[in-house]
Amino acid sequence: MELPPITLELLEIAAASWALGILVLYSWKRTSKAWLLYAHLTFLFLPLFVYAARLPCAQPILDGLQAFCAVTLTKVAIYLIPPTILIATLAGYWLFPYLYVRQLRCKEQSSHLISTYATKIGKPLRLFWFDNAQPLAFSLRNTIFMSQGMFELLNHHEREAVLLHELGHIRERSGWKKFSSALTRLFSPLASFSCRETVQQEERRADLFAAQTQGTTKYLKQAKEKVILYYSSASRARLRI
């Protein structure tokens, strides 16, 4: 089977598309707008779609069965990429909190801080506790998960600082950005080099929110020190045996 030649026009489209892809990646690094990551993926795959659209179906695998043409199958596979990414994104981002609740066997907790902030932003927020001695706290969409280890190690103000830090992530939609960043890294080799700073930027923003709300960095700093000390003790204990 003869494939259509890669023409100069196609190369120009590819070069322009990838240049735009790099530009939007640079813009994302400056602005942290998640939609720019999906724009980057679009520009990255655009030349492939243009080429796939030009593929003729001239060589059927079985005579008379045009539908099973290898080229048609290739085109279908390529055209399926964006809906696959879309479905994976939506399903993963919307389903993950429910999956975590089931997997970790979480119990919902009430918190004055959470309910106050939920009223302030007009969105429902939930706090889940899970049985794990390690100090862990993370947020997904509008849900915060906090392990028993956090309750054991931290006092009331320190736990509040951690909750505010996670609320900062929810406010900045860090979960969505981190998820999008991970998805983009999966499909784009270019993004692998520029997505690492996202996590640090989001952590700084969340720390700032917690510090501004509490009026001090003291409790968050103490909480972080205790968590770091816990994990360094755990590493030393593992090395002994």
Partner: protein, 117 residues
């Protein structure tokens, strides 16, 4: 016998884990902070180290834990799975079995001669 048992216990437990068990056996059920209060007067130890050690003892199935909800919030309460005597017996059994598995008739001959004395 107590000296040799202490040595046997050393190989599997850290000094902090042994100190924690010594507090748990008479007291029966303690929270992390309660253990910290008991131990900080005897040795320089951080709350995080005690939390780590208790979690390790729990993963080794030497202690168990339940969750209580009270005025201070949700807390783990740790308690030993076996009494001190039962634990020491299990350590001896495991060690003797290891010696017999490793050294076979040499170990059996030694035990035979040792108990004849």
């Amino acid at each position: 016998m107590c000296g040799s048992l202490s040595t046997l216990m050393t190989s599997d437990l850290s000094p902090l884990e042994r100190a924690i068990l010594k507090k748990l056996w008479p007291q029966r059920r303690l929270k992390v902070r309660e253990l910290f209060t008991l131990l900080k007067n005897e040795r320089s130890v951080a709350l995080t180290s005690i939390a780590v050690a208790l979690d390790r003892l729990h993963s080794k199935s030497i202690v168990d834990r339940t969750i209580t909800t009270g005025r201070g919030g949700i807390r783990y309460v740790y308690f030993p799975r076996k009494s001190r005597a039962e634990f020491e017996k299990s350590v001896v059994e495991a060690t003797v079995n290891k010696l017999i598995t490793r050294f076979g008739t040499t170990a059996l001959s030694y035990f035979n001669e040792r108990f004849k004395k």
